[in-house]
């Protein structure tokens, strides 16, 4: 019977689980090591990168400064050369400034007189106007460097002024770039990273690339000091890693700085690790699945096939063969099992043949024994009949003639008469003894009335206290050979009990149960040790008699405890057309034809 495959007990699950565990452990160890090393390297690299980006931004601001200085100086030179500051060329000056502002991408371009006042009409283009023109001389005094100045709209401009002398008048050409979101986005593009940029002026954020820019520059403290190396800030309006590079001079009232909002390397690492873990898990699962499939295909399935073949063989199908391809251990196992199966098959066939032979021999032996017993019984019967029909009849006739001679000898001497009478009496005794012998040889009542009646008749003649019991009245009739076998076994047992056991009381029990006739003979004699008398003639004869019918004999005895002999006969003969006669066939058995059919002799007279 095929047992269902239990997942928990499957080699596949165990193997895969072991592989998964091993891979998992190695992945965890690798991930932890990798994480630790990477965190350290990433922090260092991030700081380097941040410094590099800061440097780029500072350079970008400086480049704008140089660009502004250079362009304003060139423009001023052109304006002076073309006498653009004269009153008559005011329109040309304005148009030239408009053009220059567009070409130089300036957000502010103005011309003011030496006191910082706008010319009339106002010459200012670029969309941004200064809030405080009085600051311009200070820009000039700073030399050729830009400064962050406040514009009219509250924004901030990286501005500078270039002085020009025309017609003995001083003019200032003032230009600048907005310090705003656009510059922040330009810086972000310039540093080429995905970090964000903050522009700080006068203590507030004036430009950024952040989606939600904070109003105040993010800093770990509320002071105006801005960190110059990456510092984590966790504020309601800002969370992140930020560092600054200050611009201009510390005394600058509009003190400016550029901030870099770095992507937290830890979060980057976490993201990378999460992806790595996911990929590792994926690979692990894939490897496990592939291993599982390979194990199943190359190990489990062949084993299951071998197990299935073994079950078929165990179920009796010796033709099922163990098959496995390849040259691996399973194939070797399959080959060995197949060899074992073939040998087993051969041996079993040999054993079967030998068993058949033995069976046949046993059967032959049993038949032979049965024939011997039957022949013996028949011979007894024949002898009894011959005695009855021959010597006994002759003796009876002789007795009758002696009686007649005695009657005719009235005239004979008394002594002769007495002699005849004595002879007659002796002859009667001889006849009676002969009758007794004849009955003992084969009682006709056995054939006519069956086992129980014959046994009762027999024990009545014995000088012993024998009690016969059987279950039903009348006791069922059985095959005559069985009945005679049982009958003579009882006689043998009674003879033994009388001769050797010195029994005072003997019990006989007969019963038919199913297809078995059981005969129990129990005495209260002195008993014996069965193993010591196993080869004695009487007991051996009883054994042979029972076995000849395919039955068995059981002897239970011990010194001083009496003896029980139990014989079990089959109710049918092993073979033969009339092996099993039906119940209630006494009448049939009494018919001559029936006697002839059974091969039994006619009953003695």
């Amino acid at each position: 019977m095929r047992r269902p495959l239990r997942l928990r007990s499957s080699i596949l699950v165990k193997s895969v689980a072991a592989v998964v565990l091993a891979l998992l452990l190695s992945t965890i160890v690798t991930a932890l090591t990798f994480s630790r090393l990477t965190r350290s390297a990433l922090a260092e690299r991030s700081e380097q990168l941040g410094r590099g980006q800061m440097s780029i931004m500072q350079e970008a601001y400086g480049a704008r400064d140089r660009h502004l200085v250079s362009n304003l100086r060139n423009l001023t030179q052109i304006l002076v050369t073309q006498n653009m500051f004269s009153e008559g060329n005011r329109a040309s000056l304005i148009a030239e400034l408009g053009r220059a502002a567009a070409n130089l991408e300036l957000d502010m371009l103005s011309v003011v007189d030496g006191k910082g006042r706008l010319l009339s009409p106002p010459v200012a283009v670029g969309g941004v106007t200064l809030a405080d023109a009085e600051g311009l001389p200070r820009i000039v005094n700073d030399g050729l460097r830009s400064r962050l100045v406040r514009a009219a709209e509250g924004s901030f401009v990286q501005a500078m002024a270039v002085s020009a002398m025309s017609n003995n008048q001083e003019y200032l050409v003032v230009g600048g770039f907005s310090f705003d979101d656009e510059f922040a986005f330009a810086l972000r593009k310039q540093i080429g990273s995905h970090d964000d940029v903050l522009l700080v002026a006068s203590g507030r954020v004036v430009g950024s690339t952040l989606p939600l820019p904070p109003a105040r520059p993010p800093s770990p403290t509320d002071s105006d000091d801005l960190p110059t190396s990456p510092v984590k800030v966790d504020r309601a309006d800002f969370q992140g890693l930020v560092s600054y590079v200050t611009l201009g001079r510390t005394a600058d009232p509009e003190r400016a700085a550029i901030g870099l909002v770095l992507t937290d390397p830890d979060s980057l690492l976490e993201g990378s690790l999460a992806r790595a873990r996911l990929v590792a898990t994926l690979v692990l699962v894939l490897v496990t699945l592939v291993l599982g499939v390979l194990l199943y295909r190359h190990l489990i399935r062949p084993l299951m096939r071998l197990a299935g073949t073994a079950r078929r063989i165990a179920g009796g199908d010796l033709d099922a063969s163990f098959e496995a391809s390849g040259q691996d251990e399973i194939a070797m196992l399959a080959s060995s099992l197949e060899q074992m199966r073939v040998e087993l098959h051969t041996k079993l066939e040999l054993i079967a043949r030998q068993a058949d032979d033995l069976q046949r021999q046993a059967s032959d032996l049993q038949e032979s024994s049965q024939r011997i017993v039957t022949a013996e019984d028949n011979e007894r019967h024949r002898l009894a009949r011959d005695l009855h029909d021959g010597i006994q009849q002759e003796l009876v006739v002789l007795r009758m003639r002696i009686g007649m001679a005695a009657d005719a000898g009235e005239r004979a001497p008394a002594e002769t008469v007495r002699e005849f009478e004595q002879l007659g009496a002796d002859l009667d005794a001889a006849i009676e003894r002969l009758r007794e012998v004849t009955r003992n040889l084969y009682p006709s009542i056995l054939l006519d009335r069956g086992l129980a009646v014959a046994t009762r008749s027999y024990i009545r003649r014995l000088p012993l206290n024998v009690r016969l019991t059987y279950a039903s009245e009348p006791f069922p009739r059985l095959h005559p050979a069985i009945e005679s076998g049982a009958y003579f076994l009882v006689c043998e047992a009674l003879t033994n009990a009388f001769k050797h056991a010195q029994s005072s009381e003997i019990g006989i029990a007969l019963r038919v149960e199913g297809d078995l006739l059981t005969v129990d003979v129990q005495d209260d004699g002195r008993g014996f040790r069965p193993e010591e008398v196993r080869g004695s003639g009487g007991l051996l004869h009883m054994h042979d008699r029972v076995r000849s019918f395919g039955g068995d004999l059981e002897i239970v005895s011990a010194p001083g405890e009496g003896t029980v002999i139990r014989a079990r006969f089959p109710t049918c003969l092993p073979d033969g057309a009339d092996a099993c006669l039906p119940e209630g066939n006494e009448a049939a058995l009494s018919q001559p034809a029936a006697r002839e059919r059974t091969g039994l002799p006619r009953p003695a007279g």
Binding site: E87, A95, G98, P122, V123, A124, E182, K189, G271, L278
Partner: protein, 413 residues
Amino acid sequence: MILNHRMSRAAVLLVAVLVGAACGGSGEAAPTTLRVMMTDDWTTPPVLDAVRDFERLRPDVRVVVDKAPIRNMLDHVKGTASPPDVVQSHAFAAAARGMAEPLDDLWDKALRPSEFFPGALDDVTFAGHRYGVPLDTNALVLLYNADHFRAAGLPLPQRPLTFPQLEEVARALTTPDGRQRALALGTSTWQTFGWVSANGGEYVRVTDDGRPQFMFDSPAVVDTIAFLAGLVRKGLAHPPRAADTHSSDVYALFESGATSMYTSAAWDIAKLRRAQPGVDYRAMPMPTGMSGTTQGSAMGGSSLFVPKGSKHRELAFDFMTHLISDRYALRLAREQGRLPVRSRVYTDPFFEDPLFRLVLEQLQTARPERIDSYPDAGKLLANAIDQSLREAHDPAVALREAQVNARASVGTS
């Protein structure tokens, strides 16, 4: 066998789920960079805020904004080694030059053409396909300084002037010393097209078979350029300072008060109000030509397109639709004077402003300047206009020569 099949199916399913999870769950992956090329006066707060907002909505995307002058934007893009993902220009011109990706499929998914002004759709349509998304629209009108009119004792114009009437007004607005003149003229083909269109002219017509038919030397064009050159010659308009004078020169003159009138669009209205809030700036429709029977103007505005070679076509389209969303369209109108391309945005009270209403009315007769589709011919025309306004050549001769050369440039005669 059954176990094997089950295992195989389970393995395939598990792998599919895990691979799907791995691919879909890559929120920490390196951001995609979307490169956007805007014209140089468009990197303004509304656009940058739109960029910020787009990055907030799409954390996996970083938008890098570059800028270049619109007049040579297409040449600039063509010269780049790796094209940007979004470019602001005129999509029809880019398509005509084979530079733009067709976007009909994305339009079908995300946009409804019926919501857009027809003129705005024209700006993105070429040969029956849509190559971009309209960003803004505008039309040239005649801005004027009402204070100058009052100072000159002139009534404020109540209806469009003809070219001759304009010349009369210009004489009154121009001071004898010439420091303040009635007009300042740019020499770009687009600014000049406002006058040409107002006089019923066209630079180019496209025949049914898609071939250009240049009309540089047509009477309407020649008369218009001659009229403008006459204003300069008569001292009523500031002469161009140099070749290719563009709007920044003219705007500077107007803002400073050196000029009383100039042609511009709504973006300068917003700019002027910020720069000179105390000045009474107003606008009138473009003049009705030499005879007073024609109407017209140059349609302005721009559109966005995805250059061929972009690696992020769909993402670029998403950004474009984000930038033209009503929120930013309204901000661009309020803060920059860039008019929305969808009619529904005009329900906002902001558009009840008379100056903007006038621009909207002018849009009814404004036409797009199609010369951008033919850059070589456009340069020839610009040169002819510049030469004419700077009095270097007779307009008729210069334009005739440009006409002949333009035909040759496209292989027609």
